[in-house]
Every structure is written in C-alpha cells, then in structure tokens.
Symmetry: D2
Subunit: 339 residues, 4 copies
C-alpha cells in the first residue's frame, strides 16, 4: 500500500482527491490538511464524503506529515507550494503539485504571469505531468507539476499533430469553455448561481494565465515559438471543459493524417478516446471520469482543421490526472482507482 | 406621469424595479440610490439594463430624494427602512417597502423574529400589500408593506378558503420551494453555482421568518390562531417559487367548493390564474411575469386538499407586486407596466 | 467471479448497470441485450461507456443468455419481465428485476395500478429488494423485485419509525421531488430541455403508481392499512430525488426518539447516512452514489415530525440498489463495486 | 391599429410572437393558426399565455386569414412558407417570414442547402430583414426574410467591419453557441433534458445551413466571395446565443478602428449595444430582450481581432426581430412592444 497525504484538502480538487484516494485499491490516505477547516472532519466540510472518509483536517506540519506519507498531493493556491515542496522532497516524499508552481521549465514565463519563483531550479527540473505525453519522465519524477485544465485539453490534441508536422504552427486559435467549478469554491459574483446559471460569456480575453503554459509546451513540441489565440468562456455547468481548436493543415496533409497520428499516439493510453469520423466530444460523456475525448473535422475549402477536446476539469483537468501521475510514479496500474 | 424613486436599486429586486419602471407607460423613474455603487451607472452594475436606463446611483439624501418623487420604493435589507420611512412620509412621499419592516400589524411578531421595531405605530397602521386581498386599503395607504415571496404564494391560496370555511385551520403544511434569486445577490456558499446547481434541499427547517408573517394573516382571516408547518427548499433555478400546500377539507366540503371560492374571489383579478381541474402550476409558466398560478387536487380517501401555488419570486413575490401596489395607490390600471 | 447479464441494457438504468458492473471487482458482465439497438456496441449508444465496455447489444435468447450468466438484471418496462423471468429461473438463473412486476406481495394492488399479472405466484414469493430492511430474505431470493425510487426514499425513512411506534400511521404526507432522469430516456414534451429546465411542478397528483407500493410496505410494517398522501414533483436536475415527509409523533414520542430508532436500525448499514440534528440532506451529496441521506426536524408546537430523505434515483433508486441486491444474493461484500 | 396574424403559432417562435403582439401598443393580434393544435386555445398549448391571449388556433384558410390582417408572420418549417406567401401577397397582405425561404437573394444557395425553390423570383426580390443594416429596404418590403439566429450574431458584428475594410475577408472563424430552444419544440434525443443538461458539444460540424446565409451577406458586403469556418455548439441553457468570431485586422487597422466603425454604425440603432473596452457580452444580459451585445478584443502579437456577439435566439434571433421588422414596415416606432 502506498501511503498518501493531501495538503489543502478542502477545495474542490482536494475533495475529489479525498474521494478517489479513499476508494483506491492500492493507496491508504493517511493525512489531510487544511488551514481553514483545521480540526473539522472532511465529511463536515463535504457531507458527500461521509461514509467514505473519517479523516479530520489537520494543520500542516512538515515533519508529522512526512512521517505518514510516501507521496504528497499539494492542492493549494499558486505561490504556496513552492514554499513547501522543497522541504517535502528533502524529507523523502515525492510530490504531485496541482498548482502552477512546477508547470514551467522556463521560469521566466511563470514569473511574467504569476510572481517571482522561490524555487526556480526545482521548477526547471520538475516533470510536466501530462501523463500521456510524459509518461516515462513521470515514472522517476520527484516532483510533478500537474497540468492546468485548459492546457490538458489543448496539448493532448495538438502536441502529436505539431510534432508530426500535420498542422502549421501559425494561426492556432483555441475557443475554450469551462464549467464553473474551474473557478474553485471561493466566493465571487461570477460564480453566484444567479449570475452563472443560464449565462455564457468569454472572460479574461486579454490574457489567461494558462496561455503561457500552453505556448511553452507547444513550442517545445514544435521546436520554435508557437503563439496561440486562447479565449476562455464560462459554461453554465458545474463540471466539464471543451476546447474547440482551429488550425491549418500543413501542405499536403489531411484530416485523415491527423486522425492516424492521434490514433497511433494514443493507441495504448487508456484515458484518451479518439472519436470516430463525424463524431464530436461532449462534456456529458467525460463528466466524473478521467477520460479526454477528441474529435476531428475539417473544411476542404480552406484546409482548416477543427479539433475538439473535452475533459472533466476537476478530474483529467486536475485531481484525476494527479492520481494518474501518482499511479505512474508508484509503478501501479495507470488506471487504478480511476475507473 | 407619476414620479418614482428607488432607495436601494442595486439588489435583484431593485434592478427589477429599475427595468420595469423605466418601461412603465405612466411613470417616470427620476432617482435611484445605492450605498455600494454610489456614482456608478446602473447599467454598469447590471449590463442588462444598458439601453433601458441611463440613471446613475446616488447617495440617499431625504430632502433631495423627496423633491423628485411622488412615490418611493424602499428595496433595502430589513431594519433600514423603518429608520427612513417616517421621514419620507413626513415629506409627503408615499412608500412601498419591500422589506419586512411594515408587514406586521402585530409588532411583537416582528420583534420576535427580526429585531426591536423603531416605528411600531407606523407598522401597525401600514397596509399589507397583498394586492388581490387588500386592494381597497392599498388605494389609500401611505405606506404599504410589500409581502414576502413565500407568504404571497400561500396566502393567495389559503386566505379565501379559510374565510369561506372550506378548509380546516388545523394541520396545514406548506412544502415550499424557491429559486436561488430569493437569497439575493450577496455572496454565500449556498448560492455558489457549484453548490446550488443540480442541488435540492430543505433549509431553515427550524423556523423561517416568513412563517410568522403567514400565520398572522391566516389567523386574521380565520379569526383565530392558525399554525402552519412551513418547510422551505432551495431549487436549482434562478427564479420561481412554488408552494405545495396540504390541508384538510372542512366537514362536507369538496375540492369543487374550493375551486368555486377561488374562482369567485379572483374572477376580476388579472394576475391570479386558477388552473383547470387536473392541471397544476409550473414555475416555468410564471417566470418573468406578475402572475400567481393556483391548482387544486384532493384525495377522496381522507379529505386531504392539495393546493399548489406558483409565482416568480422576484416579480409577484417582490418587485412586480410592488409596482402593482403603486398602480393601485396611484389610481392607475392595475396591470400598467406589468404585462 | 460472478457472471452477470443485463436484459434491456440501453435505458438509463441499463447503462448505469453496464458502467458499474464493468468495473465491479467480483463480477464479469458477459452479455447485454437490447431490442432497439441489437448489433450496436453499447459504447455507440452511450459514448460515455467507450473505454469501459466493448460489449455489443444482442437480441435476447433465453437459452444463449442463461448459458452465460449466474445472475440476470432485467431493466425493462413493466409487463415484459413477468413474461421472461419464469423461464430464467427455470434455467437456474437468479434475477434482480428493476421493473414493478415483482414488487408486490399483494398482486391485486399490482393489477389495480398496472395490468393483469401473468406470474402472480412468483410475485407473491419474490423478495422486495429494499436492501437495508430485507437483507436476510434477499440472501436466498431467486427473484428480487428492486424497489421503485420514490418508495426507497420514503420506506427507508418511515418503516423503522412505524415499526417502533414512534409516529402515527395516520396523516402521512410525502412531498417528493425527482430529477428528470426518473422519467427515462424516452422522448416526451415533459422531458424536453426547454420545458424541464428552470421548471418545477407537481405531476400525477391524482395518483402515481408508486403510491400503492409505498402503502403496501408501510401497511406491512404497521400491521394495518396505511394511507399516504403522495405528491411527486419534477426537479430541473438530471439526477437526485428527495422526499420531505410530514408525519405526527405518537403520544409521548420525540424527534430524539425517532433519531435513535433510525440510528440503531442503520448502524451497520453502509449506505444509509443519518444526518446530525439541524442538518438536512441535499441531492447534491448523494448524486452518483448509492447512499440514502436522512435528516429530521420537528415542530414542538404541534408534534409534527419532518423527515427528509434523499437518494440518486438512478443508483440507490434503481441500478445501485440492484447491484447491492446482487452483492447480497451472491454473498459478496455489500459495498463491492459501489464506492 | 395594425392588424396582425400568425401562421404557425405553436412553435417556440410562434408563441413568443403571440406573447409580444398581445401586449403591443399599436397592434391587434386578430388570428393565429396551427395544424397540430387546431381548435385549441393557445393558452392550453402554452399555459404561460393564459391571461394574455384568448385566441384559439384555427386552420389556415388564406381568404379568411387575409381578411383579418394587414401583416402576416409565417412561423413555419422551411419549405412551407414559399407555398403560401405568394397567395398572401396577392391578397394584399405583407409578410415577415421566419423560415429560410426568403433569406437568399441567390436562390442557388438556398437550393443547395434546402430544396428546390418554388417561388425563386419572390426570394430574389425579398428583403433580408436584418433591421439595423437593411432598415430602408425593409420599410417598403412586401416580404421580409427574417434572418437566422446565428447569422444575426455574426452579421451585425462583421458586416460593418468588412465594409469599412477594418478586417480581412480571409480566415474568418465563428465559434458559435446556442441555447437549446434554437432546436425548437420538436422531440429529439438531443433536446432531452438529461442529454442537454450539463452538456456542451459542437454539432453539425460538417456544414450547418446557416453558413451559406452568412457567407452570402458577408460576400455582398465585401464585394467578393467570403468563406467562413462556422462551428455551432449546443449550450446547456434554454435561451441565448453567443458567437466568438476570430478574424484578422487589415494592414494598419486596430481594435480601436473596429470599435469606432461599430459605434458610428449603431449610434442610432436602439437594439445594438457596443460594450466598452475590456467588457464582453454575456447571454444573461440579452435574454428575454431584443438586444444584440457586441464586445471586442485583440491580440497585438498577431493582429487577431476577436468579436463576441450575443442575442436571445428566440427574440433578436427570431420573433423579436420579426416584430422589429413589422414596426419598420408599418412606420411605427422601431422599439414599440419590444422594451
């Protein structure tokens, strides 16, 4: 049995980790922490968890925490993990971090969009936890930067196509839509039921922080600077995320070529489901799962390729992928606890 | 043209008043106030109102305000109106108050559920603004206490039946359900989209403040103390409210008797729609309207009468009824600006 | 490994069975049937199931079917199972039937609300599959009548209270609310998105077929005829069901007595969660689970006890409970495949 | 008073026409027809309309119909209006047709995407009823082809920009999203509540029939063939439509230039609201209104201009614009009955 702990267990992603790790056949969830709810049972914070977990939220103490775990999930706001993770590693605990703190190899990108980084070398040497594309590196990683939700949808769709030269690197547009849970459990007018229900709108059109993350990975895949027009929107749904990505086929390439590349890339990956020709993904089909569904379409008049990619933002876009990372790091079946 | 002003224009009920009064054929909306948004255009607070109103939120100054209006709507949290209304009246302005401050003839009830009342005589002499049942008193009222949303559904259904002796006063149960807008625009975990969407639950089961309001009016209708078991629930919908009311037919009375009493009571009232036998109201049919729909059913095995009553909580349950009250007070067509 | 098959796999309850049985640690799902989708992969009918099940829908042939299974789930419209189940039993296959065909010990009740019964003795000897209350009988049952969704909410709440004499048998009212999936995948105006979204209404107020099922079991618990006023409502949510039940405490009994009876009844039952004093269930907390959450409240003025009971109508109200029944019948851990 | 009639009053757009025309200050709605509901009161088909209209659905008889109306709204499925409208015109009745039958000047486009046209000359001479852009032609039109909902969002945004040379005609992408009411009241699995709720997906990616309509009008504005990549999506909301349009600024042009062109184009048009810099439209702000909200953003790195445009698909996208067309045709205030 792997012993796991969660630092920051009371946000939406933390609660999903508690739920899944409590039922995971190869894991014992030994400790959870929360500043806001210290001393409270997690099942009082999330009544849905009663009958599943009896754990009580503790204050975070590195020594006590690390004595109880082999692997830690840090489900905290950006900036906090980079202050904690170095200590965890020194104490021999491996880490899956769900914030942005360890997603960037190029720390300057992080610093341009977030804040100064206090553990830059660690970030440069962390592994980007997009499981299907960095499986081998993840196996041996000490710290994994769990990808952002939007980047997960876009990168699983585009990285293989760019690498194989199926699409051009110029002119990529991603029109992306997320359920409201992506904004977390904190209170704001934008996530008030009466403002989000029956609503739909673009937001952060002048620059969302997931854009540099997307561009860094796409640029690495392409071998050169890739710019993406990325417009996120808020859906009137709790969970689910779908990116409709518009790009241009490279000279002589076809939708069928794109399909074959994705098929061969993901042939043995249990959580990417390539949809048949003419069929597009629906967030309904991935909710409460760790799957990423991808569909293709093209316009023969102008060589435009449309790739749609859907996930559950709290699972494949956060906690599910975090557990998938843990499974890979610990040498378990990649699917354990996730189906 | 009647000149109207709104004190507290930036909550959900205030914004509905702005929308409707701006289009009202016989009213000029001259002034709106807001502490939180002083100096801001109402269309910046509610972008839906742009193109409808150019008004800017002002600070409330009694003198300036009263010089511009014949009638004032106070759309403020409980407790504030009772400090303001006496001054408005002295300055010759008639008032429709949307809070609970002037809903109680028996001030002790108010004080037991809210707080000490600073204008008790005014409350005792205010008119309860349930338009269909207190039409004549409203015509001449200086201050109208606009009814609560839950009381509106229950009282329109039961007062005529109790008065006519169709139902027994004992054992009345109202299982009531409200859309989330009933909780207002303030932030709370309960109105977070992810907590309210796909959710449904009873709340305040140990005593909601609308219960004494309901019981006071029912007791007056019956001539004696009436107790109601009242359980409110939160619906995963923005607007709409439906009460399913369980009571017992008086000896020898039938569902058909109940229907006839309601039919004759509301024959000339434009906003109560009695549904045909076998048909029940649906909040979908009253949303964005000032109607109250009422349906009847009964169980011949045990004399149980079931009355369902539906409104839009922000309109007939608040701002729509407030305008209906103003229409009656000002001698206008009761329906003006409301269809 | 238990070998299981599903007859009628393509409705919502059938699809939930496929999903859960495919991941069940002790079960092999060997065969699924469908008239409408014969020859189609289940993952084409429900794209959400791709990557989980490769099964193809077959026509139902009793001989072939029974050679492949130890236990059968019949997820078919009422009336069809009673024509099929006798043959399955003769071929040595045990059955969990999700229709109403085997829910009634008193066949006359069935015939009054459904149609003539063609296997009345089988129905009289079938076991009512309310797992928490009929656990021992289920262990040895050859055919289990899986309870209706509404009855599950009401009976888990009331049977222990009636048996223990905590509440009176007279005057029980259940105001029940269901998500739209309770109406199945068939097309009707009532389940059209634009008619159900932002809607809420009572339906079948003159008699829903779950009422005799509820009354039969309550009457057996009480030892005498119990009549219930049962008004179902349609919620604007996909899944979830909540009954708010109004009853009267027996002379000298209290809410605390009720709590103690439920606590001791369900102390060792993993899927009933009794909520603490002051806390009420929410369908959000039981969605996608097999739990039933129960909360209590009372009005000391008149001895009214309010019991609220919530489930996921497709799981504890149908397919989850069906698997729980199978687990009990097969001597497995009652929770296997359900957490 | 203008006398108006509706042919096909019982779909969602027909019902909206009934609602608005019944309250229109300058119109008398004299007759409504329906094949499906002949002889039924419209308020039985749509209980929301009771208390608003007492009209009974009649069979359509051209002679009787035309004797009662000055102007006719045809709210029928494509193909039927072209068989009816010529007769209406001969009888001196002007027509606003809500189908596609009179939207195309180039009948070959219509025939490629719909079916052979039986009144091609009439179509060629009809006026495209996009009120803000064809106001003058509409005034004198005998038959107006009321625009499709998607085209309305896209054309109001792009036509002025193309005409003024602000954007390039190449490479335009519209990622468009519609509420479910856009699919009408007919039954289909796609509009089943449980399939549409909490769902989001692209559909008709290989060619939606609104594309040729969009391209015809854009090409006319540009003076040359314009191709658009148009991907519609289905939102989990009843009403509302938003297009996020990606295009490229012409050499030397800026977002500010685009803003100025839209501002001057719509300065006197009451129903287009250009949002301030940094603010994007939300379908919540246009629901139940005839407004079209437009917002702008751009990416200085690559000259990409993003234009978002939102309407209520049943109002500005159908029945509201139809009434706006009638107002213009009849010389009434363009806003009459629409605010």
């Amino acid at each position: 049995m792997i012993k796991a702990g969660i630092i920051g267990a009371t946000g939406y992603t933390g609660a999903e980790l508690v739920r899944m790790l409590s039922a995971h056949p190869d894991v014992e969830l030994t400790v959870i922490t929360s500043r806001q709810y210290e001393g409270k049972k997690i099942s009082d914070v999330y009544p849905a968890l009663s009958g599943r977990s009896d754990l009580v939220c503790e204050a975070f103490d590195p020594k006590t925490f690390c004595e109880q775990v082999d692997i830690a999930f840090t489900a905290l706001p950006h900036k906090i993990p980079m202050g904690i993770v170095p200590d965890l590693l020194e104490r021999g605990v491996r880490v899956v971090d769900l914030s942005a703190d360890f997603r960037f190899r190029n720390v300057a990108d992080y610093e341009a969009w977030y804040q100064p980084h206090t553990a830059p070398e660690l970030s440069e040497n962390a592994v980007y936890g997009l499981c299907e594309l960095y499986h081998d590196e993840i196996q041996h990683a000490r710290v994994v930067g769990n990808p952002g939700c939007y980047p997960t949808t876009i990168l699983l769709a585009l990285v293989p196509l760019l690498k194989a030269g199926i699409i051009r690197a110029e002119g990529i547009v991603s029109d992306s839509k997320s359920g409201v849970s992506g904004a977390g459990r904190g209170l704001s007018l934008g996530s008030h039921f009466c403002e989000a229900n029956e609503s739909f709108k673009p937001y952060k059109v002048d620059g969302h922080r997931h854009r540099p993350e997307i561009e860094e990975v796409l640029s690495a895949a392409h071998g050169d600077g890739v710019e993406v027009t990325f417009i996120p929107h808020l859906l009137p749904a709790t969970r689910g995320m779908l990116s409709t990505i518009y790009c241009t086929l490279a000279e002589g390439k076809t939708e069928e070529d794109a399909r074959q590349v994705l098929e061969s890339t993901y042939a043995d990956r249990p959580f990417v489901r390539l949809r048949e020709k003419g069929m597009m993904p629906d967030i309904l089909h991935v909710q409460h799962t760790n799957f990423c569904d991808i569909g293709l379409s093209s316009d023969s008049r102008n060589g435009r390729l449309v790739v749609a990619s859907a996930i559950d933002n709290l699972l494949k876009g956060a906690s599910g992928q975090a557990i998938q990372n843990m499974n890979i790091m610990a040498g378990l079946d990649e699917k354990a606890g996730l189906l």
